[in-house]
């Protein structure tokens, strides 16, 4: 399981609209902010002191 920041797809600038989530099966997900269980997982992961990979 891994999280990575994602730049805005249009401007290329840093953005918090999405994160990239790689699940245990290696699938790479583009996850909109606050959208679903993956974002909740990201918040828990951050709360445990982890840092996402840079964009």
């Amino acid at each position: 399981m891994q999280f990575q920041l994602m730049n805005d797809p249009f401007t290329g600038e840093p953005s918090d609209r999405f994160i990239i989530f790689t699940d245990d099966d290696g699938n790479v997900w583009t996850v909109p902010k606050d959208s679903n269980w993956m974002w909740d997982l990201y918040q828990q992961w951050l709360a445990e002191g982890n840092e996402p990979l840079p964009a």
Binding site: M6, P9, F10, G12, F18, F21, D24, G26, N27, V28, W29, T30, V31, P32, D34, S35, N36, W37, M38, W39, D40, L41, Q43
Partner: protein, 494 residues
């Protein structure tokens, strides 16, 4: 039969002595008249009286429970028709004539409502004997407006409740209806496995398996969750058909706190302050396990109150023979709670700790039930809504969108450096997470002849947005996006 005393009858010439006269008259008084029924009621009958096929005629209607009833009284039903209705349609007060002093099993009354019920468990109190719940004829709770004003209902006491034994009940509407959408689980029949048919899971986190079902292997545990399939025509007896699949949970490395199977149901408002019946078919591959407990989770979402968990022990012993288990869940009220975003209601079937096992589950159902239902819950027939309807509902949460080489998507240059195309999909609960593990050949063709690849994609609630970053585009220029195969997976699950 009365007979004259000795010395009677007398014959002509007999001297009427005082002895004869006193004996005879005393005998007539004591043994004759004293044994007669008198018209003014001064005599009390002391034994059953054979009427030798004759009738009592001209009698009055009985008014006390120990009175004889007339044919007319029986025909009118006055002794069993409830009168003097008061209270409300939910807490009915009524009288019987004559008044009863206790309920007895099998006792029946005719009730003609003057007000309908608004709750699923209305009560009736007859002759102040005590309030009893009125249920359907099968003992399951009613629903709002089931008892229609002016409609006669025969209520039969079953020893605990009064059951509506006859009389047409009011229309069944909304969630209480036993005829549609009783089952709040989505895909309780386990027909949809778009995300795969076998999953290796580990640890305490919950992972999606069958499309709408999440599982955990428990702390330090591992498990395999896979699709099982019934042999056509050999489904377990009693299971509703069509049933094709079951969920097989194999705990391969035990966990000290056990794994679990769950479904998150959108909206924490589900069943709040009410009762629900959970039912599911369970069986093991071999041996016996005991379900330790079931957890009801009320998750108030981001920005909402803290999650509330309620746990109960169902006492289910699962063997290798498929059985349908059920239990009543009493769901706490959410009064005073704050609801955030992505709130949900979850039911977790917790599995045994510290052992390895393989358990199978099929035909999950959770439905409204009266709070007075037995602890076993009394499930209704499993509700299967058909492949099309279930899949349509699932699409709100998860969908796999295939693309083929026959498909082209219109794209437009948004600026000199980016091209944008949209693939419209069924609307989803929220903007979905998106992946494309199987997608092949994505390319963007623009009229100038240059070809570029897709650099990123994301989704809104009803569209997949495909983006290409490059140089030399002309804003507003149109082009095409093509693929050679694969699919996008969209996940808006809770």
């Amino acid at each position: 039969m009365f007979q004259l005393a000795a010395g009677n009858p007398v014959v002509t010439g007999t001297v009427i002595s005082s002895t004869w006269a006193n004996n005879t008259l005393s005998d007539i008084a004591n043994n004759g008249l004293s044994n007669c029924i008198t018209k003014d009621g001064q005599q009390t009958v002391t034994a059953n009286i054979p009427f030798n096929n004759n009738r009592l005629t001209g009698v009055a209607n009985g008014v006390a429970a120990s009175d004889a009833a007339t044919v007319g009284q029986i025909q009118s039903g006055s002794a069993v028709t409830l009168t003097g209705l008061s209270g409300t349609g939910d807490a009915i007060v009524a009288n019987s004539t004559p008044a009863i002093t206790a309920y007895s099993t099998g006792q029946a009354f005719l009730y003609i409502p003057t007000a309908t019920n608004t709750v699923s468990n209305p009560t009736i109190n007859i002759s102040t004997v005590g309030a009893k719940t009125i249920t359907q004829s099968n003992g399951i709770g009613l629903w709002a407006s089931a008892l229609v004003v002016g409609t006669p209902y025969v209520l039969v006491y079953d020893g605990t409740n009064f059951r509506v034994q006859s009389g047409t009940l009011g229309a069944l509407v909304g969630a209480a209806s036993p005829y549609g959408f009783r089952n709040r689980f989505i895909d309780g029949n386990l027909d949809s496995w778009q995300g795969g048919t076998s999953f290796n899971i580990s640890g305490t986190g919950f992972s999606y398996t069958a499309d709408m079902w999440v599982c955990t292997a428990g702390a330090s545990g591992t498990a395999t969750v896979s699709q099982g399939t019934f042999v056509a025509g050999a489904e377990p007896a009693g299971m509703e058909t069509p049933v094709t699949n079951f969920l097989k949970f194999s705990q391969t490395v035990s966990s000290p706190n056990g794994g679990g199977i769950a479904q998150r149901i959108e909206s924490v408002r589900n069943f709040e302050g009410r009762s629900a019946t959970l039912s599911v078919w369970l069986w093991t591959d071999s041996g016996t396990i005991t379900v330790p407990n079931i957890t009801i989770g009320q998750t108030f979402g981001t920005g909402g109150s803290s999650q509330v968990n309620t746990t109960l022990t169902p006492g289910w012993t699962v063997t290798s023979t498929p059985q349908r288990f059920s239990v009543r869940l009493d769901v706490p009220s959410i009064l005073g709670k704050t609801i955030g975003t992505n709130d949900y209601f979850v039911v977790v079937l917790n599995l045994p700790a510290s052992v390895t096992f393989a358990v199978n589950a099929a035909q999950w159902q959770i439905e409204d039930c009266p709070s007075a239902a037995p602890s076993a819950g009394l499930p209704t027939q499993f509700e299967w809504r058909g492949y099309a309807t279930e899949r349509k509902i699932i699409t709100r949460y998860f969908q796999s969108v295939p693309v083929t080489s026959d498909q082209v998507i219109v794209a437009t240059a948004r600026s000199t450096t980016s091209v944008l195309g949209s693939l419209y999909v069924e609307p989803m609960r929220t903007a979905a997470a998106i992946t494309s593990p199987t997608l092949t050949g994505g390319a963007i063709l623009i009229p100038s002849g240059s070809t570029t690849s897709i650099s990123s994609f994301f989704s809104y609630q009803r569209a997949i947005v495909l983006v290409s970053s490059g140089t030399g585009y002309t804003a507003g220029q149109s082009g095409l996006i093509t693929f050679t195969g694969g699919a996008f997976n969209l996940d808006a699950r809770l």
